[in-house]
């Protein structure tokens, strides 16, 4: 574990070096939840209903606060990092170290997220409670949420890594990244709950990995699932992680064969 621990320490140190910009995320979150607050209070007011798609206004605000928190926790920079390292040829400096780059990057990322949790999430919970009426749904839900959120962090990492590998074949990757992020923010339930979609679409989303990175953890916290389906969801998360890891391993091998560092 000495190496994994070392990589995590680097992630922690780096997060501390960037602590100011990490803290700024809180401001961004307050602004975007604030916008949702105004928008949805208008919608609830105009519709005259107390429940929309099964959500009370307060439940929906809890959803939005949690979605900001989970999105920040599961966020990663793998796609940009990989594509930049490939384009500039600096990946080669990682390839001469006796560890696969993504394996190292994962542990460094975990270290970074641990710090992000303390710098962003903990204060954000306070902000959520004070400004937006974030609901506490009980210790059992919190515990189950924690487990599924950790799985979501891993799942989103391997998902991004798989997408990032495309940069080995396309040098200019910014466009792809933006398109992916757009799809991801909707399919993952970041923008609004997936239950707002028609049944047909919800069915499709359940066959894709995206909802398991944000939507499912939030719903687990909200207590929308029975214990059995919570455990079922965790198994699906695990299955996705394994499938994507196998895909990454195979594609990485092919990528290495055709990789030639640019420049020099």
């Amino acid at each position: 574990m000495s190496f994994e621990f070392g990589a995590m320490k680097l992630g922690i140190k780096e997060a501390l070096a960037w602590k100011f910009s990490l803290m700024l995320w809180i401001v961004i979150s307050i602004v975007s939840i604030g916008a949702y607050y105004l928008l949805w209070s208008a919608i609830y007011g105009l519709s005259g209903q107390s429940l929309i798609a099964g959500y009370s206004f307060r439940e929906l605000m809890t959803y939005f606060v949690m979605s900001e928190i989970v999105q920040t926790l599961t966020w990663n920079n793998v796609i940009m990092d990989l594509s930049q390292k490939i384009r500039r040829g600096s990946l080669i400096t990682q390839l001469v170290r006796p560890v696969e780059f993504l394996h190292f990057d994962f542990w460094q990322h975990i270290g970074n997220r641990v710090m992000q949790f303390w710098i962003y999430c903990a204060p954000m919970v306070l902000v959520g409670v004070l400004l937006f009426g974030l609901k506490f749904t009980g210790w059992a839900n919190l515990l189950l949420f924690t487990i599924t959120a950790v799985l979501a962090v891993v799942l989103n990492f391997v998902l991004s890594a798989l997408v990032g590998l495309g940069a080995f074949w396309m040098t200019e990757y910014h466009g792809i990244r933006w398109v992916y992020m757009g799809f991801h923010s909707i399919f993952s339930g970041f923008v609004f709950p997936l239950t707002f979609f028609p049944q047909f679409w919800q069915k499709i989303f359940s066959f894709l990995p995206f909802q398991y990175t944000i939507f499912v953890p939030i719903q687990t916290y909200a207590g929308k699932y029975g214990l059995l389906s919570v455990l079922g969801n965790m198994l699906i998360q695990l299955a996705w992680i394994i499938v994507l890891m196998i895909a990454i391993t195979l594609i990485w091998r092919r990528a290495m064969k055709q990789f030639s560092a640019a420049g020099g």
Partner: protein, 351 residues
């Protein structure tokens, strides 16, 4: 991690003996490259907006033969200089030897590994610097990178502390390594890069332009350090550089590569004696003398205190020039220098 081979005093002595006597060939082989070829396919496009738009639809592909049938052997404990003009294929060759490039054909054997097939296992035994590409974490002090490398290569703490202390003193980076890397100059970063490549005490080290952007004093420190590591641990080095002073100070043997082919592989001395047709004689005069006049000599400068002469070795021998000099002048100091090796390399490139 593979165990680090410990050298006994005897093997070190034997090694030093064999190096001192130019018996490198009898040593075990660290690197063997055979008939290596690498063909890249890139698309080319002209300058300007119109050409950029055109290239979206019609792509002209160009095949580049980066390496054409390169064969090369490097013995354990050798410091090999790899030189050649820009785009000659030096870096491609280094990448293939580091395991980060799959060649089109041919074979490479480094320390018993086929580098690109067993890359992760193999690179635990090597260190590498790739010119200005940073091996360090941009927003952290270099010392954090060093600490991570200790954990990555699983070096015992005490041993590592000793090595780090030595490297920090020799390269003079005690203060530098505590500042965030983004605040360092290129030269300072290069010294830290070198430390990264050597801290785990690898058996084989590839240095692609290790002295780029480094000032003269630091260059000297880097060279001394490389020589010391080579002497103490028998570490094998492959070095590319455009600074011929590096080569002259470090390497006994050089390989010159041009357009993907090796055009010279042999002792530096030999190439010098083959291509060096002139020498420079600088004399400090104790008292003014008459005009220097000797066949085969070109007077570049003569005044009351100094005299500089270019000697053409084809027409006159050093001995006779010196004899003539001592007979006719009162010399306070005499130095004889070779033309810089750049001149020699230029001569070979031209062919």
């Amino acid at each position: 991690m593979p165990p680090v081979k410990k050298r006994t005093a005897l093997t070190t002595m034997l090694l030093m003996y064999s190096q001192a006597n130019g018996l490198g060939k009898a040593m075990a082989t660290a690197i063997e490259v055979r008939h290596l070829r690498k063909i890249f396919r890139t698309h080319e496009r002209g300058a300007g907006l119109l050409d950029a738009a055109k290239s979206l639809f019609f792509r002209k592909y160009k095949t580049i033969h980066a390496l054409k049938n390169v064969s090369l052997k490097v013995s354990e404990g050798e410091i090999l200089g790899l030189i050649g003009p820009n785009g000659a294929g030096k870096s491609t060759l280094i990448k293939a030897m580091c395991g980060t490039l799959f060649p089109t054909s041919g074979s490479v054997n480094c320390l018993g590994f086929e580098p690109w097939r067993e890359r992760v296992k193999y690179v635990a035994n090597i260190g590498a610097v790739f010119g200005p590409k940073s091996l360090l974490w941009w927003d952290l002090p270099a010392i954090d990178t060093f600490e991570f490398l200790r954990e990555l290569y699983d070096v015992p703490k005490e041993e590592f502390g000793k090595r780090l202390k030595k490297i920090i003193t020799l390269l003079d980076i005690a203060d530098v390594s505590k500042k965030p890397v983004r605040d360092l100059s290129l030269g300072e970063r290069m010294k830290c890069n070198l430390a990264c490549a050597l801290l785990h005490n690898p058996k084989l080290v590839f240095l692609d332009e290790p002295t780029i952007g480094v000032d003269l004093v630091s260059k000297d420190k880097i060279r001394k350090y490389i020589l010391e590591v080579n002497k103490e641990f028998g570490t094998t080095f492959v070095i590319t550089t455009h600074d011929m002073t590096d080569i002259e100070n470090l390497c006994k043997r050089i390989v010159i590569i041009n357009k993907g082919e090796i055009i010279y592989d042999g002792l530096l001395e030999k190439i010098k004696s083959r291509y060096v047709k002139t020498k420079h004689l600088k004399v400090k005069l104790a008292s003014p003398g008459k005009k220097f006049l000797l066949a085969g000599c070109k007077v570049e400068l003569q005044n009351d205190y100094a005299l500089t002469i270019e000697i053409n070795l084809r027409n006159v021998s050093i001995e006779s020039v010196v004899q003539y000099l001592l007979k006719n002048f009162k010399a306070a100091d005499i130095t004889i220098t070779n033309p810089p090796i750049e001149e020699i390399i230029k001569e070979i490139y031209r062919k």
